[in-house]
């Protein structure tokens, strides 16, 4: 139960590779923060600096107001779950969970109490006398979490804890982590490369790339108002469609003209453009696949495309189409909205028209790739 504050934290390796640049973040007490980004973005390094497993090259890390830069990991009052679980292979599950408590010289009866309690919560009581080898991936994961749980630490660190599990188990464990968080009621810092995990788990997401923070915000903020093209493409699946196009300004109203169509920017987005007095010119236009719809060919806003792949996802179709100049777009079509026979007619090579509404657009500067609305 503690706040974590990182001020100008920097990591430079011996070979002068800078892994993390000037990282500033305030994590509140009991907050669940997720660091997300592609591999090599510095998210794990940052977490390991908080844990004390990596030296901090510059800046300070504070836990509960105390600077911990030079404290040993064990003195920082943290718990950590590793990607490969890091279970001690020669110890039973019970001994694994009890390990840190024994090092603290806690009396055995208290250890028993705590370990069986944690095992009960995680549903691994019947495996307590087994060795990690005899457990399945999901069970090992639970042991690793149990080991972190019994420490009653101020901060709970998790380094890609689900990435070694299969898809089904991952979904299940994700739900359990949400429940666990409610039970433990402590500060969580969670590292993942999977944006879905980040969106579902986090109070706040920290999106990183090449050692720099790209955006810090709630899942909604990151989804609705990405600060730049990278965040826009990283968050959301399938990823956002990007079209190179012209932004027109006519009588205070804004229009975009992708692939010969003409669509007016409406709603909040339109007002923001006007308020910021964004000049007309070339932009990168972003529209999420779920915001694209099929259109009549008579519509002025229709973009003519050719269907390349039709992915059937059950509740919806993902149509991969390409425009006349070869730009690839993805359109998510709910199956429930399709008329009978229409679904079957969507085959490779079919000419279809797509469009989108004026209020769902994102605008990025083609040079800096920054969001033009911010």
């Amino acid at each position: 139960m503690a706040s974590v504050k990182l001020t100008n934290v920097k990591k430079v390796y011996d070979n002068n590779v800078v892994a993390v640049h000037d990282f500033n973040l305030d994590i509140h007490d009991k907050e669940f923060v997720v660091f997300v980004g592609p591999s090599g973005c510095g998210k794990s390094t940052t977490l390991r600096m908080i844990a004390g497993l990596e030296d901090i090259s510059g800046g300070t890390v504070e836990i509960d107001g105390e600077v911990v830069n030079d404290l040993q990991p064990k003195d920082r009052n943290i718990a950590m779950v590793f990607q490969n679980y890091a279970l001690y292979p020669h110890m039973t599950v019970y001994d694994n969970i009890a390990f840190s408590l024994r090092l603290q010289k806690m009396p055995e009866d208290q250890i028993y109490e705590k370990v069986t309690n944690a095992a009960d919560i995680l549903g691994i009581t019947e495996y307590l006398l087994r060795k990690p080898r005899a457990l399945s991936g999901g069970q090992r994961q639970r042991v690793a979490i149990g080991r972190a749980m019994v420490r009653d630490s101020k901060v709970f660190l998790m380094d890609e804890p689900l990435s070694n599990l299969d898809a089904k188990l991952r979904n299940q464990m994700r739900a359990e982590i949400i429940l666990l968080r409610q039970k433990l009621d402590t500060t969580f810092i969670y590292v993942t490369h999977d944006q879905t995990e980040a969106m579902t788990l986090a109070d706040r997401i920290v999106i990183m790339k090449d050692g720099y923070i790209q955006q810090v915000g709630t899942p909604e903020q990151c989804f609705d108002m990405p600060t730049n093209l990278f965040v826009a493409e990283f968050i959301g699946a399938p990823k956002m469609n990007i079209m190179k196009t012209q932004l027109l300004r006519e009588n205070g109203r804004y229009f975009v003209t992708p692939f010969g169509s003409k669509i007016e920017v409406t709603g909040e987005k339109g007002q923001m453009l006007a308020k910021k007095n964004v000049p007309a010119g070339e932009i990168l236009l972003g529209v999420r696949p779920e915001h694209m719809v099929l259109a009549d060919d008579k519509d002025a806003a229709a973009i003519p495309t050719t269907l390349e792949v039709n992915e059937m996802m059950g509740s919806e179709l993902h149509l991969h189409v390409f425009t006349e100049d070869g730009t690839r777009l993805i359109v998510r079509v709910p199956t429930i909205g399709l008329e009978s026979g229409e679904r079957e007619s969507l085959v490779r090579g079919k000419k279809i028209n797509v469009t989108f509404e004026g209020k769902v657009m994102h605008f990025f500067d083609p040079e800096t790739e920054e969001n033009l609305l911010l």
């Binding site: 300070t60 600077v67 830069n69 030079d70």
Partner: protein, 289 residues
Amino acid sequence: MNKTLEKRSMGLRASRAISNTIIYIILVIMSIVWLIPFICIVLQSFRVESTWQVGYVIPQKWGWDNYIALWNSDFKKWYLNTFIIALVVSVIQTFIVLCMSYTLSRFRFKMRNGLMRFMLILGMFPGMLTMIILYRVLKDLGLTQVNAVPGLILVYVASSGMGYYVSKGFFDTIPKTLDEAARVDGATRAQVLTKIILPLAKPIVIYTILTAFMAPWGDFVFARYVSFGTSAGMNVAVGMYGWLQLDQIGQRYTMFCAGGVVVAIPVTILFMCLQKYYVEGVTGGAVKG
């Protein structure tokens, strides 16, 4: 940053420096202890003033006398014997070991477990015991004394199938799916071995060759049995052992040193070149048991 922090990290660094210094001192001492006998051998092999053991290391008079004496003794014959044995044994033994270990790693036939257990039990008998009879058999075949070289080769090679553990462990690490893929592609079992497994098993092949080549240089007991006092059938170990016995040590001690240098140099050079494979084999063998 505040000062106390800086101080603490200074303390950490200082203690690390101290412990590293201690380690360096230990390592230097160890290196000396490990190298000193070999340095002494080299130095004494150049000593001219006496052939007897002396209480000092650095010769008072240097010269090639011992090496010349070596050249004029039976040492040449012993050296050639050992070299031939090592060469032939390393080729045949590698072949046999590979056959054995590949089979036990890849085939699941009826007698497999029984066979492995049987060989484990056989290995618990002291090999020394079988020498008496092998000696008599070799003698009946006329493969002792002057003809000790083919006799020794025969015995070294014959039981080499027992030493399959290390390379079997290595073969076990090559995924079986590779075999299966090749079989689906139409390869016979023999082709799987020659076209898929052997190219992948290069490290272990080299390891097997290397250890098989090095062993005869040091073999002493059986070689002594088989040569039975006949100088022409001795290997270097048996021959040079005689030089250090009470009746000869006075004249031959420095010659022994020179001989040691001549034996050690080629083996050591070969070994250093192939060290990588040796390390791989030894560690793999220990882990796999």
